[in-house]
Amino acid sequence: MAEGKPRMIFLGPQHPGAPGNVAFKVWLKGEKVVKAELVPGFLHRGFEKMMENRWWEVDVVLSPRYCVEDPDNFELAYVLAVEDLFGVEAPEKARIVRTIVAEMSRIQSHLFWLMHMGGATGARYIPAWAMAAREEILRWYDYVTGHRIYHHYMTPGGIRWNVPKDFKEVTLKTLNRVMPMVKDIEDAFVNNRILRARTEGIGVIKGYVAVQLNATGPTLRAAGIKYDVRKVDPYEAYGDVDFEIPTGTEGDAHDRIVVRIREIYQSKHIIEQLVERVKPDDLNYRVKMPLLPPPTLPWPAVARHGEGMSRVEAARGEAMVHVVGIKDRKPYRVKLITPSMPLLTTVMDYIIEHEDVTIADLPIIVMSLDPCPPDIDR
């Protein structure tokens, strides 16, 4: 088998090493991977078209649904874009609460991913703690927003409901229960010798080449590039909080694990700063939105009217939303720019080209990039 034609097999979409609803066509020579091609589309639902058929504020319900793992950052991106188009600015309280909710979403997304990573490396029970920690956050979400997975808590113009009276205590309590578990995972899993042997030196993207491959998010930062939209283009309350951008040095799979764990600590740091500033009694958390967007000038006098844009750092990298509104109750066009596509196409191709990837390493590499395949399909 080692000689001769490469043999093509399917990996996914129901393989435990595949990151969800996505498949790969993998060409194998012996056990060496020669080429891997992404087969997306298992979860294509046509969000951009669906959003064109619904009202502005109703689209909030659709906006997080293309990424289960990290819903709030995408919801925030859509909400910010619509606010930008309508020229509405949310009250300060809403901005702070939305930042906290988005950071919690980042923590739970990274925890969920830790479980996946454990699945790919064969460590089964330690990452189950990550799921337990995530469960705490989901309960916090249920308490604050009313739902566990998709929250629909934000709306253009603010947040939909006031925070509960004991918001600060509950949030800090949740963090105090999550963080020891993260610490345990770090001790038992991340610094584990077996895991290090399994992940170090695998899937290396180091330095500027990550930018050239158009990678984003923790993959870019693990390559040693200090780039985070929260810093370079601050939105919401990120401008006035203090946090660091963790970066890696080697750019291998293990570095990406470490960077994400450190990001969890940074998120906790951000939440702890912001939660002090939330006043539950303050009822100024939602401003009324006009029904119609401001008038549009006909093309080509675009870009100054009738368009809104936002740029956020989701858990997987940079996400953008661009909305175009003619004077209508519905958007004319919503473009959702999501972070996962480069991770599974250009970055994967590069790794397979430059390394001896075996079929056993492939799930680890794919998982360490942490793609969220539904956001490729949308």
Binding site: R54, W55, E57, V58, D59, V61, L62, Y125, I126, W129, M131, A132, E135, R139, D142, Y143, V144, T145, G146, H147, Y150, H152, R160, W161, N162, P164, D184, D187, A188, F189, N191, N192, R193, I194, L283, N284, R286, K288
Partner: protein
């Protein structure tokens, strides 16, 4: 290193599991804010179809109900298909009369055939709400609270 992992593992071995025995032992987990099954106050609903228009999942159909409803001349009321509903509460928010509200009944409680816990019709729910100080369920959000909040803000 391996020993440390083992010790940590022992620590978790004796913790209470996070999994819940739904439906045998425990009810679905809810909090005060959980958005669950809807409750329609038929003496308030005017049949304006606002809730149907706003619903992103197209879950609401209007049904004709015979009876003495003075405020609702067309006698149409929203019926919600819970298989489609996303529980986004937009219909509750948009309802101009406050006829729709939400309870915290979710998950298995909504679909069970067990008559002890099975949700009665909205009539029964409303009746229970009217006569009981402490009903089995919590009403989580209503238009009134929302209106109240808006009014307070001015």
């Amino acid at each position: 290193m391996a020993l440390k992992a083992l010790l940590l593992g022992m620590k978790y071995l004796f913790k209470r599991p996070y999994t819940m025995l739904v439906p045998e032992k425990e009810p679905p987990m809810t909090t005060e804010k959980t958005r669950g099954r809807h409750l329609l106050d038929m003496s308030k609903c005017v049949g304006c179809r606002m809730c149907q228009m706003v619903c992103p999942a197209d879950a609401i159909k209007m049904y004709k109900v015979e009876g003495d409803f003075k405020q609702n001349p067309k006698k149409i009321f929203p019926g919600i298909d819970f298989n489609r509903c996303t529980f986004c509460a937009l219909c509750v928010e948009v309802c101009p009369t406050g006829a729709l509200s939400m309870t915290d009944i979710t998950g298995w409680y909504m679909t069970t055939t067990d008559t002890r816990t099975n949700l009665r019709s909205p009539y029964d729910l409303a009746a229970e709400l009217a006569k009981n100080e402490k009903p089995d369920f919590r009403v989580t959000i209503t238009k009134q609270t929302f209106l109240y909040q808006t009014k307070k803000r001015g």
